[in-house]
Amino acid sequence: MRVGVFICHCGSNIAGTVDVARVAAEARKIPGVAFATNYMYTCSEPGQDEIKAAIKRENLDRIVVAACSPRMHENTFRKTIQKAGLNKYFLEMANIREHIAWIGNDKELNTEKAIDAVSMAIAKVMQNKPLHATSFKINKRVLVIGGGVAGMQAALDCADGGLDVVLVEKSPAVGGIMARLDKTFPTIDCSICILGPKMVDVGQHEKIKLFAYSEIEEIKGYIGNYQIKIRKKATYVDWEKCTGCGLCMEKCPSKNSYDYFNFGVAPTKAINIPFPQAIPKKAKIDPNYCRQFLKGKCGVCAKICPTGAINYEMKDEIVTEEVGAIVVATGYGLLDQNILTEYGGTRYPDVISGIQYERLLNASGPTSGHIERPSDHTEPKTIVFVSCAGSRDKSIGVPYCSGFCCMYIAKQAILTKDHIPDSQSYVFYMDIRSPGKGYDEFTRRAQEEYGAQYIRGRVSKIYPKGKKMIVRGADTLLGTQVEIEADLVVLATAAIAAEGAAEMAEKLHISYDTFGFYVESHPKLRPVETNTSGVFLAGACQGPKDIPSSVGQGSAAAAKVLSLFSRDMLESDPAIAQVNTNACVGCLKCLKTCPFQAIVEDTLRSGKKVAKVIETVCAGCGVCTSTCPCGAIQLQHFTDNQLLSEVSAICQM
């Protein structure tokens, strides 16, 4: 065996605190090492050429590169030695940058530690076996979870690229938050007018199979081959028959249902179509408010429906779809206003959230676009907007900036002046965050042209006085306390993770941060990938985002899926678990502990029961290896012998 060792300087990153020449000299003394050297940038093209040349010249058959984390460059060097004719698993990396050079300043100690790390890698590489990847077919269908603007964009781009798309939306219609907005910043174009065509496309595209009012029940499988169970929630209306005529909604006697689409600004009927432009435009019964469900008699909708679509006996239905990749676009939620007790929570009807105000502004909203106070339906003249209602507030666990509130408040202030010319808007803000194309000019316009009074300071409390709401805050630029007698107060409530985001992440095996937002694979360079290959992110489920960013990410996720599906076969990682059937006693503990359901029971011809690993499902996590009481199941490339050789190398030092 002839091992070649390459110690990288990484400029001064490693060489600054590690004596790389000494590490190479020490490596040369280890039995089995035929060649050792140090090099300025091993990952550079000349650095790689040096490795290839040394393999030929010195007749090397195992390579150790002591450099950065294998997460950075393991693939680079695997390809390098593959090009020189070696099996790519004959490479070991010693991480002497992140694990050594970056964390200590003592050059002497660092050098000792680096020598240890390198000798461990040498011991391991000598135990390495050649491994060969197998390839498997990709199912070129894609699942998009969430039908907001990001999910729709991803679905449309994938479908236009020729892929079959399964789009699952939790609520009865696609469109998400954007479908509820009145106008969009900074152009003041009508939200539903620009979103509507996309929604229609989604509904009509022959490549898109839309499951509205459905949720993901279970996800099984791996990149290229997922089995998805989708729960189609009971709507109590046969959507095959429903024409969306709206007669049922007109006649329904139960008028006090909570209107989820309008965020409870006004009640709706127990059977309803959420909004006029809904896709699919189908009715649905809310059994929490329907008299047929509550009292067992009514049946008005069943009598009136011209197509006989009403079915009170309908049950949830589970359907299975098979896909090869998943785009997660589950969006975000809004902070519960009740947490903001100093603003009265939801006690005062005239203190509402930004999204509720949006519905009041909207022509298709409950007030047909007339701004009125929820308490007495009069037109407000003094409107106060409170930014950061919960955002940037460590004390309630939302230390981050929600990102888009500054902009939508400016928009709402402008629209308010448009709707009620003799009104006066006040905006309490801490900082105006408007870093987008045309954004800052827009917030200036709200002040310069539309006369919104911007007050730099937070609001401490809101309380009623007669018909008015008193807003007490600070103007830190004046250095004084201020009070405004408002007719209506609009809170820019913080953007938070969507309801059930954590549970969804568990189903998908992806990570989420403290706040429930999904974590991308790299914050700069892999913004739509997750750490689970085959699962991509789009939109605000990854963090608060405005419409342009969500759309951009939707398209980016689609591009990732299309490039993944540009191949017919995928290579599986051979570093997976393997069962030695001679040693296996068939206890099947591994089957129970495997987090990926990759192990099944198998019977040999002799009748002996053993565990069997499904190669394509195994993720190579190694849980089974540490569970097995008789060492029969071994993770390839990380076998007990390989790991123990590393241990004995470090113990002999």
């Binding site: 004390s395 309630i396 300071g457 007490r472 830190t476 306390q481």
Partner: protein, 194 residues
Amino acid sequence: MDALNLTEKTDWTFIEQFKKESGDNPSLCYQCGNCTAGCPYTHYFDYPVSMIMRLLQTGQKETILNSKAIWLCATCETCTTRCPCEIDVAHVMDVLRHIARRENKVAEKGVKSFYDSFLKSVKLFSRMYEVGMIMIYMLRYGYMLSAAKLGMDIGPKFLTRGKLSFFPHELMGNAEVARIFKKYRKMEKERAKK
């Protein structure tokens, strides 16, 4: 007005001294003004409390220690409750008061004397004795008029509701209270030595 030369006039030692003594971190403040917005006494302050926080961040020792605001703060803790950055603002004001007292900078002598009278009465009678405290405030510190006015204003109401008694209350544990005072004095002396 001359520009404030922050290179020369930032008292970094004062900032460090404050941090060490209080355990509070003024850098956490992002100047939202919520403390000022909720403060019931801000109208009497020379600097609103958010500005005291800013002065503290910029190490303006003299301005802070000579301010009336730190003495007029009633420690109602509305600021502490509302602060989104979880700063105990009332405690910040309290510590600043302590530092000012040690450096003999008292912008509101009446307030300081009132505190002293309160402590004196507790030291003498081991618990709050209102009439005694007023007497000390009047006789020892000479606030005859304001104390008399206070007595006239609230005295009758308090008396009829049994909130004032002419004689000090009997109390168990006088020795323990005395020990608290002694221990505090000792701590103060040790701090002075350092």
